[in-house]
């Protein structure tokens, strides 16, 4: 066994940080867009209109039931073959957002359904419409409950973004692969990358943990 020599990591630090920036940039877009898609679809899954409910359900089932890598390949390699060109970044952001949206939709739906039926009845019995009750009574309560599973989903999204290395995005993982193909120091490079991912996800889970406690204090 050879002793690991981490100088390779520091020698290529700037390049790794470029990859990290790309990971964070794309993940940030995908988290926000995925959350918007997921909120909308989660509400549609509870819609009174059957067609909307079914369409939302089909989206969730299909996305959850197929691998993210296949979805990314369809966007990046599949679409151009029928004449729709997406840049790698566009394919990456769209793919991750659509994928994350399906999981967020389930989180939002479960959060809303977890609120006691008595809350809706109390709001409705005061003359509030279904929409008013949803906006002012149900959603504020549901939002507090969905923060922990949402954080979990965001962390999964950031880790999943490593798959973007396979569609020509030079994010953290692919940056590592570049360095490794020059230096052959696989152990040092990939352990360093693992630590870098962990720093991001651990920081995120701590920040949102604070937010969660704040919200709980005020309810």
């Amino acid at each position: 066994m050879n002793l690991p020599d981490y100088s390779v990591v520091f020698d290529n630090w700037a390049f790794l940080m470029l990859g990290m920036q790309e990971t964070l940039r794309i993940s940030a877009f995908a988290v926000v867009i995925g959350f918007m898609i997921g909120s909308a679809v989660g509400l549609l899954r509870l819609s009174r209109v059957r067609v909307l409910r079914m369409a939302a359900g089909a989206y969730v089932e299909f996305i959850r039931g197929t691998p993210l890598l296949v979805q990314l390949y369809i966007l990046y390699f599949g679409l151009p073959s029928i004449g729709i060109d997406l840049t790698a970044r566009a394919a990456a952001i769209i793919g991750l957002s659509i994928n994350s949206g399906a999981y967020v939709a389930e989180i939002v739906r479960a959060g809303i359904q977890s609120i006691d039926k008595g809350q809706t009845e109390a709001a409705r019995s005061l003359g509030m419409s279904g929409h008013l009750a949803m906006i002012f009574v149900i959603l504020p309560q549901a939002f507090r409950r969905i923060i922990p599973p949402l954080v979990n989903e965001f962390i999964i999204l950031i880790k999943d973004s490593s798959l973007l290395s396979l569609i020509a995005i030079t994010e953290l993982m692919r940056a590592g692969q570049h360095i490794r193909s020059r230096t052959y120091q696989d152990f040092e490079i990939f352990t360093a990358i693992a630590i870098l991912y962990f720093i991001v996800t651990f920081t995120l889970s701590n920040i949102l943990g604070v937010l969660e406690r704040r919200l709980q204090v005020s309810d």
Binding site: Q119, E121, A122, A123, R124, Q141, D219
Partner: protein, 240 residues
């Protein structure tokens, strides 16, 4: 004030209300009693359309509320409801629980809503709890806030669905006192409750429901002491 004619309600194959006909006068206080599953809560919930009856007609203050053309949200503003489990909004302070519907439904100005809210809190004896969240209030206090919340809409009728059943014994009185005060003020009230003390003191009429029909009705005295129907007597012997 309230006319109910031949009201039927089923849940799936289970027929819970099998033709209820009664009328309740303005200012009258009616107490509904009956075993669990007798249909008393379902009947009450039909009165503000939390349950939609399949057959029959309900008229409140001259308006046929079971008609398909009515604005259900408008009717509910005129019929206040108090629940067994209080159902306060846990993310809102006591005062904000009361003012929420004033602001969002009646679109009253914030200052005015606040005044109304404080007035009602005073009325239920909780002036000092305006800024408390529900989880910091006892069950009895929560139920009194819930009553104030319902009163904020200035309803013509107040419905109470077992308002003291979820309360510890020492808190029942404070809630019943608020209800008695309300009755004395002339509010039309329909109350599902087995609190005989309240019924004797405040009710004009007691209705005994069993298996979805009105078995017997009369003054508290007539029902509690001189029930004529055997089923009523059997039921009362079980709860007294």
């Amino acid at each position: 004030m309230i006319e109910v004619r031949d009201l039927h309600k089923s849940f799936g194959d289970l027929e819970v209300l099998k033709g209820i006909t009664t009328s309740i006068a303005r200012g009258e206080v009616v107490v509904l009693i009956g075993a669990s599953g007798s249909g008393k809560s379902t009947f009450l919930r039909c009165l503000n359309l939390l349950e939609i009856p399949q057959r029959g007609e309900i008229t409140i203050d001259g308006q046929v509320v079971t008609s398909r053309r009515v604005d259900i949200n408008r009717i509910r503003q005129e019929v206040g409801m108090v629940f067994q489990q209080f159902n306060l909004f846990p993310h809102k302070k006591a005062l904000d629980n009361i003012t929420l519907a004033l602001l969002k439904v009646k679109k009253i100005k914030a200052k005015e809503a606040r005044e109304t809210g404080l007035e009602l809190l005073a009325k239920v004896g909780l002036s000092d709890k305006a800024n408390a969240y529900p989880r910091h209030l006892s069950g009895g206090q929560q139920q009194r806030v819930a009553i104030a919340r319902a009163l904020a809409m200035r309803p013509k009728v107040m419905l109470f669905d077992e308002p003291t059943s979820a309360l510890d014994p020492e808190m029942i009185k404070e809630v019943l006192n608020v209800m008695k005060q309300l009755a004395a003020d002339g509010m039309t009230m329909v109350v599902v409750s087995h609190e005989m003390g309240f019924a004797r003191e405040a009710a004009d009429r007691v209705i005994f429901l069993d298996e979805g029909i009105i078995v017997e009705e009369g003054s508290p005295e007539e029902i509690y002491t001189n029930a004529k129907v055997q089923r009523t007597k059997d039921f009362l012997s079980q709860i007294l």
